[in-house]
Symmetry: C2
Subunit: 401 residues, 2 copies
C-alpha cells in the first residue's frame, strides 16, 4: 500500500480525494499497488464528511510518518505551501501540486531538492487544469527542441471574450455575468489583468528553455481595454480576439514572453477555443505545430491531473523524475523591440493620416465614426511613436498574432 497525504481540503484537495477513491480499482491496477489517502491536512474540521477521520491539523504528523511517500500540495500560495513542500521533499516524500504561483516562483529550487532526495516534484495541474500539457512537453516531446509555446491559459477571460465575440456585449456587462455564473471571482483582478496567465506562461516558457523565466518579468496586459467595437472590427478582418500567453525562443539564452490580447485569424486553431476551455499550442523543431485542448480548470479535471502525478510518483518510488529547468535566468526581450502587426481602431476622420502611417489594409466597415486598420509588421517602439504622433485619432490598438 502506498500512502498519500493531501495538504489543503479545498476544491482541488477534495477533488484529489474523490478521484483517488472513485477510480481506486483502476489506479491500483495501473500502479500495481493500492494507493491510500492516509491524511488530509486542513485547519478546519469536516464533520459528516466521509473522510472526516483522515483530517489532521498538525503537519508534523505527516512529515514524521515514514509511511507517507507522496504529498499532494493543494493549498495554494507561496507561504506555508512553500515551507511544507520543501520539508516533504527533503524527507524524500514526492510532492504533486496544482500551485502555479509556487511552481513559477520556486520551481528550480524545489526540483533540485527533489533530485537530491531521490523523490519527485510534479506539477501537471499547475497549467491547463486537466489538460495534459506539462508531461507531453517534458516527456512526449522530449526529442524536440521547442521553439514556441502559446496558449489560452485562463478560462475566466476566455469565457468573457467568447461572450463579447458572440453576443456583441461590452466588457463590464460580460464580467458581471461571468461573476453571477461563478466563472469570475468577486475580485476578478488576477484573471482579467492577466496575472494568472502570466504565471502559467512563466512555467511553460521555463520548460521550453530549460531555464528560469521569472514570472514578474513577463510583460502582461489584461483584457479590460477590449471593447465590443474591437470585436466588430476584428470580425471585419475575419478574426477574433483572445488573451494569449506566448513565449518564443530568441537566440541561445534569450526569449520573448508576454501575456496580451491578440487579434487572431479565424483559421487559427486557437480561434475556435471558446468559453472556459484552454488550449496550449507548441511548435517543435521537428514536429511543427501541435495543440492540447481541454478544460483548464474545475475541481475534477484539476484533481485528475494531480492524481496522474501521484500515480507517476507511485510507480517510481525512490527515484527522481527529472525535468530540465535550471535556476539560470532567461533574458527576456523588451516587448518594444519585437516586430509585429497591430489592429488599430481610429477616428474615421483621420483615415488619410492613418493610411500614411500604417498602410491601407482598412476595415470595409465604418461604425460610429470609427474604422480600423491592420498595420504591416513593425517594431513595437516604432509603432508606438507613430501612434503618439497621431494623438487622439487612435482609439485602441491590439497586437496581431
Amino acid at each position: 500500500m502506498i500512502n498519500v497525504a493531501v495538504l489543503g481540503y479545498g476544491t482541488v484537495g477534495s477533488g484529489v480525494v474523490e478521484v483517488l477513491e472513485s477510480n481506486k480499482e483502476l489506479i491500483a491496477k495501473r500502479v500495481g499497488d493500492e494507493v491510500n489517502v492516509k491524511y488530509i491536512l486542513d485547519l478546519r474540521d469536516f464533520p459528516g464528511d466521509p473522510y472526516e477521520s483522515k483530517v489532521v491539523h498538525d503537519v508534523n504528523l505527516i512529515m514524521e510518518d515514514p509511511e507517507v511517500s507522496i504529498v499532494c500540495e493543494t493549498m495554494g500560495g507561496a507561504g506555508a505551501a512553500y515551507k511544507f513542500s520543501k520539508e516533504a521533499l527533503s524527507r524524500s516524500k514526492s510532492v504533486c501540486t496544482s500551485n502555479k504561483e509556487l511552481v513559477s516562483l520556486h520551481g528550480p529550487e524545489l526540483l533540485n531538492i527533489a533530485k537530491d532526495n531521490n523523490c519527485s516534484y510534479l506539477f501537471e495541474a499547475s497549467v491547463g487544469g486537466g489538460i495534459p500539457i506539462i508531461r507531453p512537453i517534458v516527456e512526449a516531446l522530449t526529442a524536440e527542441r521547442l521553439d514556441a509555446v502559446m496558449g489560452i491559459l485562463n478560462g475566466t477571460t476566455n469565457f468573457i471574450l467568447t461572450k463579447m465575440d458572440k453576443e456583441g456585449a461590452d466588457f463590464d456587462t460580460t464580467l458581471k455575468e461571468a461573476q453571477r455564473l461563478g466563472y469570475a471571482e468577486a475580485n476578478p483582478e488576477a484573471d482579467i489583468e492577466g496575472h494568472d496567465a502570466r504565471r502559467k506562461i512563466a512555467i511553460l516558457s521555463s520548460l521550453m528553455t530549460g531555464k528560469h523565466v521569472k514570472d514578474e518579468k513577463v510583460y502582461t496586459e489584461g483584457i479590460t481595454r477590449i471593447t465590443a467595437a474591437d470585436f466588430k472590427f476584428a470580425h471585419s478582418f475575419n478574426a477574433t480576439i483572445k488573451l494569449l500567453g506566448m513565449a518564443k525562443r530568441a537566440g541561445k539564452n534569450e526569449a520573448e514572453a508576454m501575456v496580451s490580447p491578440f487579434v487572431i485569424g479565424n483559421e487559427h486553431p486557437l480561434a475556435t477555443v471558446n468559453d472556459v476551455f484552454n488550449a496550449v499550442f507548441v511548435t517543435g523543431n521537428m514536429l511543427g505545430d501541435a495543440m492540447f485542448y481541454g478544460k483548464g480548470a474545475g475541481k475534477l479535471p484539476t484533481a485528475s491531473a494531480v492524481c496522474s502525478d501521484v500515480i507517476e510518483c507511485a510507480k517510481n518510488l525512490g527515484k527522481n523524475l527529472s525535468c530540465d529547468w535550471s535556476d539560470e535566468e532567461v533574458k527576456l526581450l523588451d516587448v518594444s523591440d519585437v516586430e509585429r502587426s497591430f489592429m488599430v481602431r481610429f477616428d474615421a476622420a483621420a483615415v488619410n493620416e492613418i493610411k500614411n502611417a500604417f498602410g491601407d489594409n482598412i476595415s470595409d466597415v465604418t461604425l460610429d465614426n470609427e474604422m480600423a486598420v491592420l498595420t504591416a509588421p513593425m517594431k513595437e517602439s516604432d509603432f508606438n511613436a507613430k501612434c503618439e504622433a497621431l494623438k487622439d485619432a487612435v482609439h485602441n490598438r491590439i497586437r496581431v498574432l
Copy 2:
C-alpha cells in the same frame, strides 16, 4: 553510450536518424548519456549518404550485438517487422515503432514479450504521427477511466474533405488533386476506404478498454460516397463532414468502435481540424473532454515521435514500461444496434414522406430538386428499414455526431 539500430531506412527510418543527429546534444542532456545510431538495416545500399557506413544487410549483426539496447522498427508491414520485433524483444532490446499495422494486429503479444524480458515495446508514432497521443493516454490520463476516444486519424482524407468543404469540389476531382500534390497515393484505397483510420482506432480503443479491439472487426466506411451536395446541405445545418474513427465504452466488456464519415456541428472542436491535420478527442470520467491536435503524418513529425520513445527507453534501460492492453478480446456492438441521428439527402418531391418518416428538421434550401433532413436519434436498424421503405427517394445518408 546507448546504441540504437534502425530497421528500415525509408521515410520514417531516415527521419529517425535525422532527428537523433539534429537534436543529439539536447537528447544526450535529457537522457543523461549519448544516444548513438550504430546500425541501419536495409536491403539497399546508400552510396553517398552521410550514414552510409552504418548500413548493414544482415539483421543478425544487430540481434547478436549486445551493445544494441534499442531497436527502431520503421519497416512497416506485419511480416519481417513482426519477426524482427519479436526477436529483438526476446533478446531484451526495447523496440520503438511507427508500424500501426503490426501494433493493431499483435500489440498484446509484443507487449507481453517485452514484459517478460525487462524491456519495452513503445508505439507513440503509430497513431497521429507526431502528436503525442499514446503517452498522454497511457500516462498523463492515467487517473482517468476513458469513456470515449474519437478523432480525425487520417490526413489524406481530411485534406480531401477540407477541400470539398471549402471549394465545393466533388470527390473525384479532389482526389486527383491530392494525388498530384503527393497527399494521396497512386493507389489511395487504404486512405479513402478508411483502412488506415481503422487500424488507428483499433489501437486507441484497445488502450481505452485495456483489452484487444481487433482491427478487422471494426465497422469501416470510407469517404467515396460523399458528394459536393452533401457538404452544401451540411452547411445549411451549420455543420461539416469529417471522417472519424470513434470508440465508446459500453458496459463492462463491450465497446462501440467504427470508422465512418460524420456530419459534425461547426462548434465542435473537431470541425475546425482542417487539411492534413489530425486530432484525437478523448473523454475521461473525471477530466471531461480533451483534444490533441497536430500533424498526423510526415517524415520528421513521425520520426520525432519514434525518438521520444527511444529517449523514454534510454532513460529506463532494463525496465519494462508497461501499458494496460491484454489479449482478451473486446466484444464490439453491432453498428445497427446503436442509436444516432442521420442527415438524409432526398428527392424534394418526397418531402412529405420524409417528414413522416424522419421529422421536420428539413434544410432551408433546395438544390437541384434535392433537400436534406436531420433525423431524430434512432436505432440504425430502424433507420435502415425506413430508408428501405422510401426507396429511391433517399439519395444519401450520413451519420451525425
